[in-house]
Point group: C2
Chain length 223, copies 2
Amino acid sequence: MPAGDERLNRERVLKAAVELADQDGIGSVTMRRLAEKLGAGAMSLYYHVPNKDELLSGMVDLVFGEIELPAEAGDWKAVLRRRAISTRDALRRHPWAVGRMEATAAPGPNDLRLHDAVLGCLRAAGFSVEMAVQAYSLQDAYIYGFALQEKYLAFGTREEFAETAAKRVREVEARSPDVAAEYPNLAEVVAGFVAKHGYSADDAFVFGLDVILDGLERFRLAP
Amino acid sequence: MPAGDERLNRERVLKAAVELADQDGIGSVTMRRLAEKLGAGAMSLYYHVPNKDELLSGMVDLVFGEIELPAEAGDWKAVLRRRAISTRDALRRHPWAVGRMEATAAPGPNDLRLHDAVLGCLRAAGFSVEMAVQAYSLQDAYIYGFALQEKYLAFGTREEFAETAAKRVREVEARSPDVAAEYPNLAEVVAGFVAKHGYSADDAFVFGLDVILDGLERFRLAP
DNA sequence: ACGATAATTCGTACGCCGTACGATTGTCAA
DNA sequence: TTGACAATCGTACGGCGTACGAATTATCGT
């Protein structure tokens, strides 16, 4: 055996799985392929991970671990803004994790640590327990939902997005030729997008985020 | 052959697939099982649907078809509020569709019709083209993200939710015994939830929705 | 140094999946 | 009757997750 391959262990398995998913998509994360990447037999993985579902949960918790914890002190809006952006960044690095962040049967330690910190931040900012939960739920719904859109609509660069949009239009035109007449508002938007400067996913994200954070302001108790 | 089973066709296949997914989960929608439900051979389905991916897209567009189109006239906020709630309702009836609404390669007719109508509503309310897109993106991100949370956290009734929460706590406690000390804010919330009146997913949804819609108000052009 | 014990690895096999391919059957116009 | 075309389906292939138990390697008391 070459010197490079050490013993297997849970951490090595999870990290390799994340790498594989990042590079080739979650669809190519199979026990056989993952084992091959690790220079091991497929069944060896099962000594370190009980089954594939748990493997995925472990991968997701690694992604949670990449999210910046909100700072203890500072303006609550700025702090939460930062953690929201950090969350979105993590999901852009690992798009396969979108839609799975809430799915793990038993949330991992990184997940719990983050949730606890954000709740603490909201409580410190003067939200009641109930309102802190509402506020958290609202933020996360937005973040995950936005990541979902981003994943499928392939915003990417302006050029990529223009290309994607144009392709969609062509696909639809193949079915019903007179798109502009049938969907005038859609046509207006697409024309506005493709023709003009384009669309920045970054700007769109922080726009929505600020609408939400500003809207939450008035639900705090006394400062 | 019994009198009941007519010829296969795309519509019948899609509807049966949706029924199957609703009843037994998306995981049990396989070509073989779907065919069996239709009293046909597995390969017969491929005459009506090019492959499984297209089958899923067709199913999703059926869900889009269940969403109430926004009314032409009326207070924009009330109208969009209604369509948001209608969207969430559809996603609760068909949780398997969550996370797939944006995923179809070529959006189906119901999808396009809805998007066109909502954009038209926003334009009529006095949003610029760019702002209408932002506003739409924000609303949908929230709706889909909320549906995602709802799907996995199993809000359900207050009893169900309390039970789920309690189970999660037990799972976590099995790993690290002193949960309350490690995650004080989480503990506070869980105690507040389980002990007190509980949590209404309906209320949480419209709370966030109204924060968003109210927050968008000031981005309209002249009334 | 050595044997026992435990930790770790992995080969084989099973049932399920999506679907390529080609044969088969049903329907109807000429 | 015949030929064309629409619709159905049986068989087979490669890939998946993983149950089971055997094989190998590491660890440690003596």
